[in-house]
């Protein structure tokens, strides 16, 4: 029987690693969808349609996890027994937090003044830090297998990721 509990990487036939080529994930996703999507079973019996639906939902879930760096890292750590987002782990280096606060102030200012140029400047800086953290995650998870350390980096990444989402929302707000 089908094993719904197969992990996302196994499901996609991929090596469990943080450093994954996005086009590889996309290709695996498209190949599986081509076989199991409900549209392929539109004229099949009820049972097959229901299964196709369940499988597609499962594959979409896996894809959403694997393609986002944050979700992928969290999932990898979970597979290795580390709950990175555990509410008890909230300690952060002071200088990192100072930087976050400074960025947030700039975000509020850009929003208040509807200043797209300064928002774009902030966007680039934050994105650079996100990229740096992604490289750090790749090294910690894929090479050094230091999952505890990776969890700390991931918590930082979460801050930056959230800030990026707020920057996006600010564009919406300014542009109406």
């Amino acid at each position: 029987m089908l094993d719904f509990n197969r992990n996302h990487f196994e499901l996609f036939g991929l090596r469990p690693a943080f450093r994954l080529n996005r086009s590889e994930i996309d290709r695996a996703y498209r190949e599986i969808q081509t076989e199991i999507h409900p549209d392929r079973f539109a004229h099949a019996g009820e049972a097959e349609q229901r299964l196709a639906m369940q499988w597609t939902a499962r594959v979409n879930e896996a894809y959403a996890t694997l393609r986002e760096p944050f979700e992928r890292a969290r999932y990898l750590l979970e597979l290795n027994g580390v709950q990175a987002m555990d509410a008890r782990n909230t300690a952060m280096p002071a200088d990192f937090l100072m930087q976050q606060m400074a960025w947030r102030e700039r975000l509020e200012q850009a929003k208040a003044q509807a200043d797209i140029a300064s928002l774009q400047g902030l966007d680039q800086e934050v994105r650079a830090q996100a990229d740096a953290l992604e490289r750090e995650l790749a090294e910690l998870i894929d090479e050094r297998h230091d999952y505890a350390q990776a969890a700390e980096t991931l918590r930082k990444y979460r801050f930056v990721d959230k800030l990026l989402a707020e920057v996006e929302a600010a564009y919406d707000e300014i542009e109406g």
Partner: protein, 622 residues
């Protein structure tokens, strides 16, 4: 060269080889129906050779109904009973309609969705839309010479769950088997992409009569993948008409006009807008009911100036979708223009400017959605097309539930690929709490009050525990039509309370049945005949599906005994279908459905294995 076959009128074209299925573009202003004939998608015309059906329904005191051009011709004479642009009211409450005061209808506020008081009684927008669909169904069955097995009906991508559910209910009411609700820009992308063998990232700019959609799709080797979608479900060509209408009032110094004059001037405004796409200036003349003469000249420049803010408003969703997809305008390989309103030259220019390229206009913007829907209907009906393609669409707006303090916890973010299921756990707030209110909302904002409320239901029977000890898992499921269902379950004690909701604005099966009865009072069809016909279609479909599954995989996946069991169920259903006993047909259909569950699971398993094997082989190549 083989000669094309033409069936005798009134006779089905080879019923076992080609299943009759159509695509329907249920538009705000106009609707169309299309099908795939001899491998080519074509729009089906009415008996006068007209492809469009104005989305106008008129109710008369004797209960009879006019639809389309007939109804449109009476709009200014009978404005209260002639419903125009009903799509704007689908799944909407009275407070959602910004322009209630300017509309000539007698609205009745009903829970969930407005209703309209007409000469033939109170009608819900679902019933009005069903009349349009029924007219298209009749047109299609007359043209194709047989009963339809189903239809793909398009909806604006930005339609929320309430609007989608209302559309599906309208189709059920019209006696159509809905193969799929398909997003309009996605339908357009299918028609365009298959026609042009397109690969890469394309955008669809779809400005209809009452809705605006913007979608970004990636086309790769026959897979149409929606990357992001955005829009405004209350912005369209109608708004351009209204700007002209207001300008006429202002220029003519009119303050209050009768409903008759309003309908007349709106029609004139629309005519002027359409003519301005061809010429630099247009003369608008009309005689009002008071005898007053209106004679004005509207230039393109004046028109552009008064509608500039509307054009600009369409670019915001474009920017949002690009950001959601992580793309820049330059990443877009082509912008497909859809909807009659995109004929407006200023819109063409604005879109061209924004994307730095000339928009694509090589398919008729009025027909492209219906054609794409017909292609998808053909595939879903099981007619093998030459091209094998797959659609991966998304949910347009985030879905979540209300948590403490009136805040929204998003469970499914916008632009998630459907179908999908996602669960999240919640807990109790007070000691001994035994029930929990689950309030389902849709929208992007953080406060519940700023989002659309879809449904409320209570989960009862939670065992009394200290606050925070209960574990309630709420599961959201969105099907391939983009429709949501929600279940909640208490996990911590093993006691399961379980409820399925259909959002509150959705019609119950009883309501649908009542409306069907009402509509049959004016039609020759009767309910029992309809039920039998439907059961027969379902049974026949299952029979064919099972036979084809047995032929392909019976040998490999079933033992001789297992196969014999299924074959005996097949034979039983065949016998039932030969008779007229509704109950027997339903029972035999259910029995075959039950009896093939395990076989279905094995077939799915084989499909997944096939996908993985294919993939691993490629992996080795790398």
């Amino acid at each position: 060269m083989a000669l094309l076959q033409i069936a005798e009128p009134g006779q089905s074209t080879a019923p076992h080889e080609h299943r009759l299925a159509v695509g329907i573009d249920l538009g705000t202003t106009n609707s169309l129906v299309a099908t795939v004939r001899n491998g080519i998608a074509v729009v089906l015309n009415d008996e006068h050779g007209r492809s469009l059906l104005p989305s106008v329904v008129r109710y008369r005191p004797d209960g009879s109904v006019q639809v389309g051009y007939e109804a449109q011709a009476q709009a200014s004479l009978d404005p209260h009973n002639t419903i125009i642009s009903v799509k704007r009211f689908m799944g909407r409450g009275i407070k959602d309609l910004p322009d209630v005061a300017t509309l000539p209808y007698h609205f009745v506020d009903a829970p969930g969705m407005v209703q309209i008081k007409t000469a033939a009684g109170v009608k819900s927008p679902v019933e009005v839309s069903a009349e349009i669909l029924r007219a298209l169904k009749r047109r299609a069955e007359a043209a194709l010479g047989g009963e339809l097995i189903g239809a793909v009906i398009t909806v604006p991508a930005y339609f929320d769950d309430a609007q989608r559910q209302a559309t599906k209910d309208a189709a059920r009411l019209a006696g159509l088997n809905v193969l799929r609700l398909l997003n309009e820009p996605t339908a357009a992308a299918i028609a365009y992409g298959l026609d042009n063998a397109a690969e890469g990232i394309y955008a669809v700019y779809d400005l209809g009569g009452g809705t605006f959609d913007f979608s970004i799709l990636r086309l790769t080797k026959g897979v149409f993948e929606v990357m992001a979608t955005s829009g405004d479900s209350a912005l369209g060509g109608d708004d351009f008409d209204r700007r002209i209408y207001c300008w006429i009032l202002e220029q003519a110094g009119l303050h209050a006009v009768t409903d008759h004059d309003k309908a007349l001037l709106l029609a004139k405004a629309r005519e002027a807008k359409e003519m301005l796409s061809e010429q630099p200036a247009v003369r608008i003349t009309a005689v009002l009911s008071s005898g007053e003469l209106i004679d004005l000249t509207l230039t393109e420049d004046t028109f552009n100036a008064m509608t500039e803010s509307l054009v600009t408003k369409t670019l915001q969703p474009c920017r949002k979708a690009l950001r959601d997809a992580g793309l820049k305008p330059a990443d877009i390989k082509g912008v497909v223009m859809v909807g009659g309103s995109t004929r407006i030259p200023r819109i063409q220019a604005a879109v061209g400017e924004f994307f730095g390229q000339t928009p694509l206009n090589n398919l008729d913007p009025d027909k492209v959605v219906a054609l794409g829907a017909a292609m998808q209907a053909n595939v879903l009906a099981g007619n093998k097309g030459q091209d094998d393609w797959l659609l991966l669409d998304v949910v347009p707006l985030s879905l979540g539930i209300e948590t403490m303090g009136g805040l929204v916890e998003k469970i499914i973010p916008r632009n998630s690929t459907i179908p999908l299921a996602r669960a999240q756990e919640f807990t109790t707030f007070k000691d001994g709490q035994t029930a929990m209110m689950i309030h389902v909302v849709q929208g992007e904002r953080e406060l519940v009050s700023d989002c659309r409320s879809l449904a409320r239901f209570e989960l009862r029977g939670i065992p009394p525990m200290v606050a925070g000890a209960a574990r309630v898992r709420v599961t959201f499921q969105v099907d391939a039509d983009g429709l949501l269902s929600v279940t909640a379950r208490e996990l911590s004690t093993g006691v399961e309370a379980h409820i399925e909701v259909k959002p509150s604005y959705g019609l119950t099966d009883e309501e649908i049945a009542r409306m069907l009865q009402d509509s049959y009072a004016h039609a020759s069809e009767d309910m029992a005949a309809r039920n039998l016909a439907e059961a027969r279609v379902d049974g026949q479909r299952l029979l064919e599906a099972t036979r084809s599954a047995l032929a392909t995989d019976g040998e490999a996946l079933l033992s001789a005994e297992e196969r014999a069991v299924i074959e005996s169920l097949v034979a039983a259903l065949e016998r039932a279908l030969a008779g007229d006993d509704l109950k027997a047909i339903k029972q035999a259909t259910d029995a075959l459905n039950q009896g093939t569950v395990e076989f279905a699971a094995r077939r799915m398993d084989a499909s997944v294995k096939r996908a993985l094997t294919g993939h691993r082989l490629e992996e080795i190549d790398v």
